[in-house]
């Protein structure tokens, strides 16, 4: 266990060094949520076509947009892994005696930290746009935990895809193919109960839905979690564990 933590921490450390050294990627990722909140959120709020209970539409989608940016920035983690494979960095990691689980888990945690940067950005934008954010420290802490967990889930998912497709070109195609449907088949920009039945079924097996549900309750004053935090975090933990299990099996095939 001590070894697992030490090795994972070593991976996290280098990822954080890289992040701090070259923040352009993460900053450019902040543009998209800005557009969603500023344009999409404002316009749809005028239409008043979607019933979002006691929350304003902008308040309703703020957690959804945070989850979206967590999803989009984590899902392209696979590209970085493929890049590392083309360079031979993956080979170097895999000939080391480090546990394969430390390598995979370290990557997931590093993705979690990237997610935190997204959270800070969204909080700032939302604050400027007068979204009534809950500033209860305990809730903020829970938001950060949810964001890390969500980032870990999507980064690990992305790692699995990378291990299967192995080339950048194929990954780009599949990445697009998966992320947009995942976003639309969730409760990010409309509530579950206005969805047609088939879509709701898909949304309910989509881990993004549980991340958003938790965030909606935690971030916004007056927001509430439909499924309850226990279910939200429980589902996310189980999904994360299952994905890690698969990723640990597949990661070594990257060096073949």
């Amino acid at each position: 266990m001590e070894r697992f933590i030490r090795e994972s921490a070593a991976i996290v450390e280098v990822e954080l060094i890289k992040l701090v050294r070259d923040p352009t990627e993460i900053i450019s990722r902040a543009v998209q949520p800005l557009l969603w909140l500023l344009v999409f959120g404002q316009v749809l709020a005028q239409v008043r076509g979607i019933h979002t209970g006691q929350l304003s539409y902008l308040e309703f989608i703020t957690p959804g947009i945070l989850a979206q940016s967590v999803l989009f920035s984590a899902i392209f983690y696979g590209i970085a892994v493929i890049w590392e494979r083309d360079l031979g960095v993956v080979h170097k990691l895999l000939v080391s005696p480090a546990l394969r689980s430390s390598l995979v888990f370290g990557k997931a945690v590093a993705a979690g930290f990237r997610g935190l940067v997204q959270a800070v950005v969204i909080y700032l934008i939302a604050f400027i746009m007068h979204v009534s954010l809950s500033l209860d420290p305990l809730k903020i802490f829970a938001v950060l935990a949810a964001v890390m967990l969500g980032s870990g889930i999507f980064a690990t998912f992305s790692l699995i895809i990378a291990c299967i497709v192995k080339t950048r070109e194929r990954f780009m195609g599949i990445g697009q193919l998966l992320t947009m449907p995942m976003f639309f088949a969730s409760n990010a920009i409309y509530p579950l109960d206005i969805m047609p039945g088939w879509l709701r079924v898909i949304a309910q097996i989509n881990p993004l839905t549980y991340l958003i549900d938790a965030l909606r309750g935690l971030m916004i004053t007056g927001g509430e979690s439909v499924h309850g935090y226990l279910v939200d975090f429980g589902v996310m933990l189980v999904v994360f564990a299952a994905l890690l299990f698969v990723a640990v099996k597949l990661y070594p095939t990257l060096a073949e």
Partner: protein, 271 residues
């Protein structure tokens, strides 16, 4: 000379085979490499050199056959094998977005070097490879020769008994190449490291290796000491003659496009 090293081999393979679909990349190979030897593995593009190394370093599992590295079976005890080996891949494995020092620190942690020793080990490795002055520069700014030396430093940081080097001098200028050779000879002298090195460079093969094997289409076509192999082909045969004779023709003959492209990319990135 009754040392146990005479009986036990650093690397032993028996009928080692790897197929990719219908292609047999490595075909029933048997090698016995004693501790302390520098062993050259030669062959044209696509002959199977990297595939042999990947199996011996536990990155790729064999289709059939067995191998022991440092006394451990590569399939049954991969973790024990990994602890005893160092590997420099044919690709550029140093992380360009980190400094040389950070690359080494990552290795030190992944290999579980005790915290108290990490600093001195890293400093020694940097000194040994002549990188002390550039330790805190991004690897992306290094020359090809410096990158290769850093990769060697990473591979030897934990003092492995056996080093696997896959074309370590490709794309390097003669001076940089010479430096890598000298360091390898030092490692063997100071730590008795066993080295398995692949190359296309016949001068390198002759200069460094105690013994070499030439692979052709996944099979070993000859094993022997460089001088012995030359002598076998006539009084004034060169190492290039040896290569042409045993490797089945010109160097680039059997390379597929992607392999050649890969090699070029590597060379380009290094150069």
């Amino acid at each position: 000379m009754n040392s146990p090293a005479l009986e036990s081999f650093a690397i032993r393979t028996s009928e080692l085979t790897r197929q990719f679909g219908s292609l047999t990349a490595v075909d029933h190979i048997g090698l016995n490499i004693p501790y302390g030897e520098i062993f050259g593995l030669l062959g044209a593009n696509g002959a199977g050199k990297s595939t042999v190394i990947k199996m011996l370093t536990t990155l790729l599992s064999p289709t059939s056959g067995t191998a022991e590295v440092g006394g451990f079976d590569i399939i049954r005890s991969p973790a024990d094998v990994r602890r005893r080996i160092g590997y420099v891949s044919q690709l550029v494995s140093a992380d360009g977005t980190l400094t040389g020092y950070e690359n080494l620190r990552l290795s030190a942690k992944l290999y579980g070097l005790p915290k108290a020793e990490r600093g001195t080990r890293i400093a020694d490795a940097l000194d040994f490879m002549g990188l002390a002055d550039s330790a805190h520069k991004l690897v992306r700014t290094y020359s090809g020769g410096m990158i290769r030396r850093l990769e060697l430093a990473q591979a030897m940081l934990h003092r492995p008994a056996i080093l696997f080097l896959d074309e370590p001098t490709i794309g390097l200028d003669p001076v940089a190449r010479r430096t890598v050779w000298d360091r390898l000879l030092d490692l063997r002298r100071d730590y008795g490291m066993t080295v398995l090195i692949t190359t296309h460079d016949m001068e390198e093969a002759e200069e460094l290796s105690d013994k070499l094997a030439i692979l052709h289409a996944g099979q070993i076509s000859v094993v022997g000491e460089p001088a012995e192999l030359r002598a076998g082909l006539g009084a004034d045969a060169t190492m290039d003659d040896v290569f042409v004779h045993y490797a089945g023709g010109l160097i680039h003959e059997s390379g597929t496009f992607s392999e050649v492209a890969q090699t070029r990319r590597t060379a380009h990135r290094l150069g």
